[in-house]
Symmetry: C4
Subunit: 193 residues, 4 copies
Amino acid sequence: MSPRRLEAFSDGVIAVIITIMVLEMKVPHGADVTALAPLVPVFLAYVLSFVLVAIYWNNHHHMFHAVHHVSGGTLWANMHLLFWLSLVPFTTGWMDENHFAPVTVAAYGLVLLGAGVAYFILTRVLLATHGHDSAFARALGNDFKGKVSLVLYVAAIALAFWQAWLALAIYAAVALWWLVPDRRFERLLAERK
Amino acid sequence: MSPRRLEAFSDGVIAVIITIMVLEMKVPHGADVTALAPLVPVFLAYVLSFVLVAIYWNNHHHMFHAVHHVSGGTLWANMHLLFWLSLVPFTTGWMDENHFAPVTVAAYGLVLLGAGVAYFILTRVLLATHGHDSAFARALGNDFKGKVSLVLYVAAIALAFWQAWLALAIYAAVALWWLVPDRRFERLLAERK
Amino acid sequence: MSPRRLEAFSDGVIAVIITIMVLEMKVPHGADVTALAPLVPVFLAYVLSFVLVAIYWNNHHHMFHAVHHVSGGTLWANMHLLFWLSLVPFTTGWMDENHFAPVTVAAYGLVLLGAGVAYFILTRVLLATHGHDSAFARALGNDFKGKVSLVLYVAAIALAFWQAWLALAIYAAVALWWLVPDRRFERLLAERK
Amino acid sequence: MSPRRLEAFSDGVIAVIITIMVLEMKVPHGADVTALAPLVPVFLAYVLSFVLVAIYWNNHHHMFHAVHHVSGGTLWANMHLLFWLSLVPFTTGWMDENHFAPVTVAAYGLVLLGAGVAYFILTRVLLATHGHDSAFARALGNDFKGKVSLVLYVAAIALAFWQAWLALAIYAAVALWWLVPDRRFERLLAERK
């Protein structure tokens, strides 16, 4: 089966996720600039979540250029990823509501870790259906960045209980590290030409 | 008419349904782990609804690989399915709000039954437009699993008034049974190669 | 320019409209069947709005099978249609909130009239870009049903101030009349084969 | 990489943005025409935001007809545009809530300016990947209208603190100016035939 509809459905789900997060930013009732002050951390959390979800879409987009067929297992591995991403608006809102209290920052990291693990599983399922000597496998490589990100999320979750802002700094650092879309699959496409 | 736009529209509607359900999980005001305790059943209901809607998308995705043309009747049979699925966030929220009271659990089952019947009607309409000796008809087979699911939902709705948790267990069991996407249409595609 | 992206964008907007309407049905706090009683008219209004928006999607879907190219004017005529459809959740909610008071029923009809006029304008713009002797023009014909619907909506809006339920009956009757998707474009496709 | 999925994802995000804005129009509790009176400015703000977001979609649609491949940089330039557009419902709601107080009108303009700058950056990134003597570059031309719009937004933001309605008039004037979709890319397509 071709991955076309899996891509279209994922696009739809991620488009809704990334857009409904903005609804967490409640319109302030004051009409001057100071009314926006309490929204500053909420806004920064929105930017962080927007960038993190955007990174998943970008990498998904890049990776599926090397995917030729999907199995029933691929559909569920992809749904599993979308499930974790669908929780991002909730954990973002919980952090906002409680001024980045340690537990809420750890919960935010837990959802990021879940999405990261789900993405890792998705790459393994695709690897199994395409074969270890496929172009997909060569483009994926040893997936160093993906594995280190998971370790960093685990560290951040633990650190959140000590210094919540340190955990947030790690989430932001991982996001910055991934800002460059996944070149491995771009290189693969370049080779084919 | 090709089923391309019917697929795209269904993808969009199901993507919105599966994502707005997360809005039913109201952000708790407490900032410690105990604040999440009342959310546990709400979260489990979300997981169940997410999986059930995901199953419909997966089966829809698989089935339409064997669909070559759609008629006006197909469009309405599909809309009828989307209508019942669109009620899933409502019945999920009603269960959450009332701690899985019998009536709400039965209503949840009624919507699942409605979606199941709508899916059954959709297969009959597609059967009529493709013919009983088509590849579609052969792949669909006697649709044993679809028919048994409807019977199980009827039983669960009745049981909900006696033991609500038993009904929920049946919904979850049906979901687990369907976790494996509809192999019939995968087999059809494999044969064609 | 090909109509592919116009179709995809319209699918997305209509998918969101048809799904967010369900959010107007507020989850009741009671846990027995009587708690649902006040929701019955709200549910019927949801069914009516769902069917009316679904009719627009179906006819849009059918009509665009005969559309080969879109101009800048087509994009705006289509956006104008989507604008009126985007108001359906609002007028549905207003009727719900005020127990189908005359003004709210008339406002509901006004939005339907707006959407009907916008659809009519869209057919004229497509007629102008395809030519009066095109297959599109032949399939569209004299558009009797479209024109009569507009007259019926005008009548219903006036009647709403006298007997609101009569106006609602007319809206429902128009919906039933359109339940059969637009055969004209199906016939055109059949001829081509 | 082909721009197909970037287009599909952008369609999804913009479809959600344009539709959730209508949720800012809270259903009034009164049941007569006077209950709608306080909604009139809110409705006009909705129309303005709908038209402005629609313009971005139209221009995006036109421009991408001349785009043949996208790079990692294009994805982020496009995400950056979607980010600013995702803030339009928030600033629209803030203006509504505070009766178009100066700061809120300036904030609305700031988001429009952000979207305008993001669109400008997107054209530069596409220019860099397609080359300055490409069909894309010729169709884009000197982008006079895009640059003047940015200057007008800056002027409107400053004027908002003096006369908020003047700023709103400028936003509306820019919208009217852009109502005609971007002919440059239509001309390019006509030449190719």
